[in-house]
Amino acid sequence: MRKAQGSWEKRILKSLNSMCTELSIPLARKRPVGEQKELLNKWNEMGTDEPVLDLSLFRPVYAPKDFLEVLINLRNPNYENGDSHSFRTHLGLIQVPLKVKDIPELKEFFVELGLTAGQLGVDDSTQVPPELFENEHVRIGQKVLSEQDSAAAQQYIRQGSPTALRAELWALILNISSQPEDILYYEQLKTNVIQHDLLVDSLIYKDVKLTASNDDYYFVFEDYLYQVLLCFSRDTSVLGHFAYSSASPPKSYIRGKLGLEEYAVFYPPNGVIPFHGFSMYVAPLCFLYHEPSKLYQIFREMYVRFFFRLHSISSHPSGIVSLCLLFETLLQTYLPQLFYHLREIGAQPLRISFKWMVRAFSGYLATDQLLLLWDRILGYNSLEILAVLAAAVFAFRAVNLMEVTSLAAAEAVLADLSTLKVMPLLQIFLFATVT
């Protein structure tokens, strides 16, 4: 796995370097004083400011579908599938035999989502009187917050967070408290942005303009996204997460000193090269936090706890490879007819659901539903729910999907998830389907 991750990283870096050479733009340069002043003035409205470079020259370093191709080609050289004891071979795209949970194990893992427990996202709908669940749940949430009990908050949020308490609960679970030194640190990062211009900045601008700026839910927060992501790419504390990631930060060399380790620097400073759609990890958080340094801290913590696993190759149960395999296995095991049909018409389900999982469904679900989903990511400290939801969506649209005869038609059936209610879908799939 590490080898695969290593070669993927090489490819990305090569792509970045060649863009840099093609466009004759340095990876990093110090801004002239005039430009620094201007950027400082425009800090709160970078969305309307003309970036110095023509953005059409840039292309994203990679998109999720490029990454999927790499994952599809992963093979374990030690694995012999020769005389298989199991009658069922895996018909999906992922060919790496990682251990994933089956539905009985998932039911146990996600026991709080069961039908006998109350849920926000189900039991707070208009038809249900609030005395039945909601009022008490809110009261408990307030108690958890007043006691500042992080572990209790994590347990509590498995049943969903009331809208008004969510911002504080997430901060509690992620151990974010805005201390003066945190605000100072953010201001320091901001100064770094003002003083130095990175090539990666243009990639960030481009990504925001392509995704969040056009999104019905998030376009309002465009300027916050620049403020967070530009600082993020300069934050060397993020390098810490590479200690538990299979990935390594890309290295670059001072001009003219290629190969000399004393002149190697991590590029970008935080070691994370953004890909197409990266800004969508930040966008939903803007509904919860309007103070930039707090928004920044929350995003950074979400990234180093969860999101980094969605775009690096590892064997971790919450890593994207495992999620893909979990999704495919669930579908093949519990909806075999649908799976087989889609495969036959050249519409491997993972080709459609991959982009949902890589983005943790941001930009695909309505925001209120997305936040209910991310509540559970925090509550269970796992991304597996993304794979389960993806399978549940296919199960929900199974009837229509059985009638399509092409990949394009299948994509069309699953193009619009904005009306879906995630908790009922998950409950039906895990707890109410005859297996």
């Binding site: 709908s125 208009t126 809208t163 839910y217 376009f219 509904f287 309007h290």
Partner: protein
């Protein structure tokens, strides 16, 4: 085709025509026998005018009240609200209660407004009280932001002065009527930008008052960051939220058109400010709309052939207080984006379901009480008959922000059906 509704319109918009056609209605011309006429405001003037008007028969319905301008002309709206407040004060109603500084506690929802040139001197007196304030000049009879400008100096509106030198060359009637209102220079900003709310309200009858609020309203955002700085008072992209203006801005986006669903606003406010203040804000918005309708109800010609779908423009300030800016009789049916088209199509669809029950030939003698199932995305905003049935003393207890009964005070992503709280 006996039994099919015959329709006419002088507004060529697909969201209308598609809705008529999907009901299997038959298009006819104005001179033929028609049942349903979706008319522009010019046409309604002709239909009900003394010279050119004609009587409508029982099976004919139109989409405007004859004197809707009592609500939809900026100067008349303000006049009627001022009159309504004074009346309530005279009868000692608790709704007209004032605070120590003389401001109405519950009925102060329209910014201080004067008519020009008629109230010029009164305006000058008010202006001099706070000379650094900004005021907004709006022509009474125009729409889409046309002719609007901001002033912060008396010299900028000299020509509306009654004693101005120019008045000797012009008669008063040729000087265009304007209203001047105190500009709300502390609007609530989201993402640093100013926005206003567009809410659709359907009125089926004024006496008794029965009105519905469309759950899918939206915020209209400016494309440029807001600044109260005097150097940007001329920059309409900062101050005016009308799409007709913003769409000419450099940063106008054709995918979302600067429109943000009201549900997003609710989610954002509840997440960042808490449930109580958000609930209170939305309660107050509903209150403002109902009070504005009650204010004009006595002077409205409650013709039984009429219904009307208004576009309410509301601005929220940074203290989370809603202000009524104006009411539009002919809210735009042009679609600026794909989502917009869907929204307006559904708006017309739900409106027709309420105004023309079962899609059958109308009988304007019906009681205008549609069953709950046909409301679609509308919810009952205020039903005077129902409210009175609950007991007249409800009126006294009803204040914005107070919730009554076990079903009060709930908020939903899909909009509230809890206007029973303060009715």
């Amino acid at each position: 085709m006996a039994g099919k509704v015959k329709w006419v319109t002088d507004i060529e918009k697909s969201v209308l025509i598609n809705n008529f056609e999907k009901r299997g209605w038959v298009q006819v011309t104005e001179n033929e026998d028609w049942n349903f006429y979706w008319m522009s405001v010019q046409t309604i003037r002709n239909v009900f005018s003394v010279e050119t008007g004609y009587r409508l028969s029982d099976d004919q319905i139109v989409n405007h009240f004859p004197n809707h301008y009592e609500l939809t002309r900026k100067d008349l709206m303000v006049k009627n609200i001022k009159r309504y407040r004074k009346e309530l004060e005279k009868e000692g109603s608790p709704l007209a209660e004032k605070d120590e500084s003389g401001k109405y506690l519950y009925l102060d929802f329209v910014p201080i407004t004067y008519m020009l040139p008629a109230d010029y001197n009164l305006f000058v007196e008010e202006f001099r009280k706070s000379p650094s304030s900004t005021w907004i000049m709006k022509p009474c009879g125009k729409a889409q932001g046309k002719g609007i400008f901001l002033i912060n100096k008396l010299s900028q509106i000299k020509k509306w002065s009654r004693d101005s030198k120019t008045s000797s060359f012009m008669t008063q009637s040729t000087k265009e009527a304007y209203v001047i209102s105190l500009y709300i220079n502390n609007p609530l900003l989201i993402g640093g930008r100013k926005f206003d709310l567009r809410l659709y309200v359907l009125v089926s009858t004024y006496r008794p008052l029965r009105c519905y609020m469309y759950k899918l309203g939206f915020c209209r955002f400016c494309t440029v960051k807001y600044t109260p700085s005097t150097s940007e008072l001329d920059n309409m992209f900062v101050h005016l939220t009308n799409v007709a203006i913003q769409k000419h801005g450099e940063d106008y986006n054709h995918i979302h058109g600067g429109k943000w669903a009201v549900n997003n606003l609710r989610l954002y406010l509840e997440s960042t400010r808490g449930r109580e203040v958000t609930g209170k804000l939305f309660d107050e918005i509903h209150w403002v709309i109902v009070q504005s309708l009650k204010a004009v109800a006595p002077v409205m010609n409650n013709d039984k052939h009429c219904f009307e779908c208004y576009g309410y423009d509301i601005i929220i300030d940074d203290k989370l207080k809603p202000w009524l800016i104006e009411v539009n009789a002919s809210p735009s049916l042009t679609s600026s984006t794909a989502n917009d088209r869907i929204l307006k199509y559904n708006l017309i669809n739900d409106t027709l379901n309420i105004a023309v029950p079962n899609g059958e030939i109308p009988d304007c003698k019906w009681n205008k009480s549609p069953p709950k199932e046909v409301l679609g995305n509308y919810e009952i905003l205020y039903d005077e008959e129902l409210a009175q049935g609950d007991g007249a003393d409800r009126e006294l207890r009803s204040r914005p922000g107070q919730s009554l009964g076990p079903r009060g005070g709930r908020s939903r992503d899909s909009g509230r059906t809890v206007l029973t709280t303060w009715k």
